[in-house]
């Protein structure tokens, strides 16, 4: 697969750039996806065990969600910087 990609993009700098940037942001979102899944999974468990804590937990949940989600955007900014700098 990788060798096919290399062969297809040999001599084509733009295609190589596009693939590199897309792969970068794709792999970057992988980690954040796992993290966000973890947060909501734990939240479901917590509320299932102690439903009366829902209100308190919700604030922490959204804080964690936003902090994790922001990681993708650091990757995005890195990608944009790379795109501008090349």
């Amino acid at each position: 697969m990788l060798s096919y990609l290399i062969a297809a993009t040999a001599g084509n700098v733009d295609a190589g750039k596009a693939i590199a940037l897309a792969l970068g942001i794709g792999l970057g979102s992988l980690g954040a996806g796992i993290g966000i899944g973890n947060i909501f999974g734990s939240m479901i468990q917590a509320v299932a065990r102690q439903p009366e804590l829902r209100g308190e937990l919700q604030g922490i949940q959204w804080l964690g969600f936003a902090l994790t989600e922001a990681v993708v955007f650091y990757g995005l900014i890195g990608g944009l910087l790379a795109y501008v700098l090349i």
């Binding site: 959204w62 936003a66 989600e69 922001a70 955007f73």
Partner: protein
């Protein structure tokens, strides 16, 4: 259902702006700043651009929201005002600020939350404030002032300055800067101290880039999905493009706008609170 219909029709209004580009598609042009009224003070560029216009509109709207909802005597607007106030107090201020600093800093974090919420939301309302002209009239476009790094960086700088000002004021400079250094073996200090100092500046970056990149990416996603049919020049893509564009539009308006405003205010409160009471 009613709300979805309103959002979808508002979204349709934003279309002519994108339609101007046929075959070629440059979503990044939406985020360029062209000076409308040039004001230069020496080396200082104070020109009024799209972002400045949105910020002015946002400030006026924030004041109106404050006056209408917080001063309301009865009915639904009072209930809504109380709800906003309660979120700002219990979820934002009391989570981060210690009780001795809450009177002083509650107005700041609450204003921050409301202001960012209003300018974020304003970014998803089609307004005739774009740089493109159609028969001399500016076309409708969606643009958020917070999708410009300068705006979010200046907001984050406010929090940064207040954090250290409060830390020095409550603890004195020596005790405050000492509180940055965690308790570790002496041999680790040369490694830890630069990291801790760097960490203080990383807060500035993470606070500003989080908001900026979220709004930028949100607008880019919507633009790209709508732009897909112009790039590939195929009308059959329209249902797909519109569907996904609308889905992302709703996702941004319902979830991201509120969360980002909340996060910015909550983190500001936590940072200021941790400076007032370092052991907290």
């Amino acid at each position: 259902m009613k709300r979805a219909l309103v959002a979808a029709s508002l979204f349709a209004l934003a279309l002519p702006n994108v339609a101007a580009a046929k075959g070629e598609f440059h979503p990044e042009e939406e985020f360029e700043q062209h000076p409308w009224v040039s004001i230069h003070l020496g080396a200082l560029d104070l020109s009024i651009t799209k972002a400045v216009a949105y910020l002015m509109l946002g400030s006026i709207l924030t004041m109106i929201v404050g006056i209408v909802f917080m001063r309301a005597r009865a009915g639904r607007s009072q209930a809504l005002g109380e709800q906003i106030y309660e979120v700002a107090q219990t979820q934002v201020a009391e989570q981060g600020l210690p009780s001795k600093g809450i009177n002083r800093w509650f107005p700041y974090v609450a204003t921050l939350m409301l202001f960012i919420f209003v300018i974020n939301l304003l970014g998803f309302v089609p307004l005739p404030l774009s740089d493109e002209k159609w028969h001399g009239v500016p076309t409708l476009g969606i643009y958020a002032a917070t999708s410009s790094l300068s705006v979010t960086l200046s907001l984050a700088l406010l929090t940064f300055v207040f954090t250290h000002y409060e830390g020095i004021k409550w603890n004195g400079p020596v005790r405050y800067f000492k509180s940055w250094i965690p308790e570790v073996p002496k041999i680790m200090l040369p490694l830890i101290v630069p990291l801790e100092i760097l960490g203080q500046f990383m807060r500035l970056i993470s606070l500003s880039v989080r908001l900026f990149a979220n709004m930028l990416a949100g607008h880019m996603l919507i633009l790209t999905f709508i732009g897909l049919m112009f790039v590939l020049e195929s009308i059959y893509l329209a249902p797909f493009s519109l569907l996904f564009g609308t889905v992302f539009y709703l996702f941004e308006v319902v979830i991201v706008v509120g969360i980002q405003a909340f996060i910015f205010a909550a983190l500001s409160a936590i940072y200021i609170g941790s400076a007032i009471e370092p052991e907290h």
